[in-house]
């Protein structure tokens, strides 16, 4: 009975002491001691936690690197795919701009029927200036049809197969186009050259021409329709001892960057060869 009483008393005293200490601590009487203990505890916890995280990272890192590498690969593939898409869209935008210009041209020249074709190649011989387009006789193209862009005349069809045609450019050395100078109202002949330069010949000495005059097709000879823009006259050469004046022509067309062209479908070239008198020996 006595021992049971003394154990209860001891328990009560312990509770009272602990409770008193807690009350004193909560009351701020143990601040220096509790701060020291807290700081030590937090430092120890930080050290242990840091070591634990380091060890965990050490064991988990390989799998993370693998997953990161996979993710990186996926993202790189996605980026390259998007870059390809951007390039395709830029190309489509360029094509659309070219086509829009060609549509504008065809709308402003409604008297002709046009067929658009892409340039797919050039003549293998560097002496000749021909291009190959991806439309042929199955699209209604015929030999002799004129070919233009929105910037002006570029040539005429020289040979046709079912799905392709070869176009002789006006810059070809064997090309000759009858033209007229709009301001001077006189005819001349436009010839190509090996270097791709356009030269104007057979300009009468009596006619006064000026640099900057617009050069248009005259329609003479029946090879081209009239009034197609060819370019502008520059570098006029007039010599008294020559029969004709000569000049160079600056075409608005960049012949080195032809991509899409228009074939004039409703023009039938006229072969005047039978009308040319034969030479008699």
């Amino acid at each position: 009975m006595k021992s049971s009483f003394s154990r209860s008393l001891q328990t009560t005293i312990i509770f009272l002491v602990v409770g008193g200490i807690l009350a004193l601590a909560l009351g701020g009487y143990f601040s220096p001691t509790s701060d020291f203990l807290g700081t030590s505890f937090i430092s120890a916890q930080t050290w242990v936690s840091y070591r634990f995280l380091t060890i965990r990272d050490f064991f988990n890192a390989p799998s993370d690197i693998v997953s990161l590498q996979q993710r990186n690969g996926q993202l790189e593939a996605e980026v390259s795919g998007l870059q390809t898409q951007v390039i395709q869209l830029q190309q489509q935008l360029t094509d659309t701009q070219v086509l829009a210009a060609l549509v504008d041209f065809s709308q402003t020249n409604p008297e002709s029927v046009y067929k658009a074709a892409s340039v797919i190649g050039r003549d293998p011989s560097p002496f000749l200036h021909y291009i190959i387009i991806n439309s042929g006789s199955s699209d209604g193209l015929r030999r002799g049809m004129p070919v233009v862009t929105n910037q002006g005349l570029i040539g005429r069809i020289d040979a046709v197969i079912a799905n392709a045609a070869r176009v002789q450019l006006i810059t070809d050395p064997t090309s000759a186009v009858n033209v007229r100078l709009q301001n001077a109202d006189t005819d001349a002949v436009l010839v190509g050259s090996t270097t791709g330069d356009l030269n104007l010949e057979m300009i009468s000495q009596d006619v006064e021409v000026q640099e900057g005059d617009v050069v248009l097709t005259s329609g003479l000879g029946g090879n081209y329709p009239s009034d197609l823009l060819v370019g502008q006259l520059f570098n006029l050469r007039t010599r008294d001892y020559e029969l004709f004046q000569q000049a160079s022509v600056q075409s608005a067309v960049d012949f080195s960057r032809l991509e899409i062209v228009l074939v004039i479908m409703n023009f039938n070239p006229i072969d005047i060869a039978p009308l040319t008198p034969e030479e008699t020996p």
Binding site: D123, P124, S125, P126, F127, L128, I132
Partner: protein, 166 residues
């Protein structure tokens, strides 16, 4: 049977020529990929089909070009004839041989082209043609000849199952 590789290969060379090479010009000239390929092929010791390649390649180019079809055929046949002549004499120096062959082959094909155009009535200035077309073309052809020889050496090793000693 492997020799039939000539058909798709020469067709591919023609496509590359018309679609890409002809757009990359130096002054007025550009490379003749077919000529360089035929030269590199004909200079291989064990090759027996270089004449066939020349005829087929010439017909391919002639069918696309506005030049008379026989001009590239004759030009390439003369180049191959020169190559077969050279193989027996200076084969120990293949790089020298390909340079000499491409140089002479380019001059030959261009001379034939100029002659054909002049006969057909083209007012071609020979001086302009040489300075603005032939000389730049020579330069580009010689530039392409260097990698062409080992590529066609490997092709010859594959086609004829020969032991490559070089």
């Amino acid at each position: 049977m492997k020799e039939l590789i000539a058909l798709p290969l020469l067709a591919l060379i023609l496509i590359l020529q018309t679609a890409i090479i002809s757009n990359i010009s130096l002054l007025g000239g550009y490379a003749d990929l077919m000529l360089v390929a035929l030269s590199a092929w004909a200079l291989q010791d064990d090759v027996e089909t270089s004449w066939h390649w020349a005829i087929f390649g010439g017909i391919l180019v002639g069918s696309v070009s506005a030049l008379p079809w026989y001009i590239p055929v004759i030009g390439y046949l003369l180049t191959v004839a020169l190559a077969r002549f050279m193989v027996k004499r200076i084969w120990q120096a293949p790089i020298l041989a390909i340079f000499v062959l491409v140089f002479l082959g380019t001059l030959t094909t261009h001379f034939l082209s100029i002659t054909a155009l002049r006969i057909s009535g083209s007012p071609l200035s020979i001086a302009d043609a040489l300075s603005t077309v032939t000389l730049p073309s020579l330069f580009i052809n010689l530039f392409l000849a260097l990698p062409a020889y080992p590529i066609f050496r490997d092709l010859a090793v594959w086609v004829y199952d020969i032991e490559d000693v070089q």
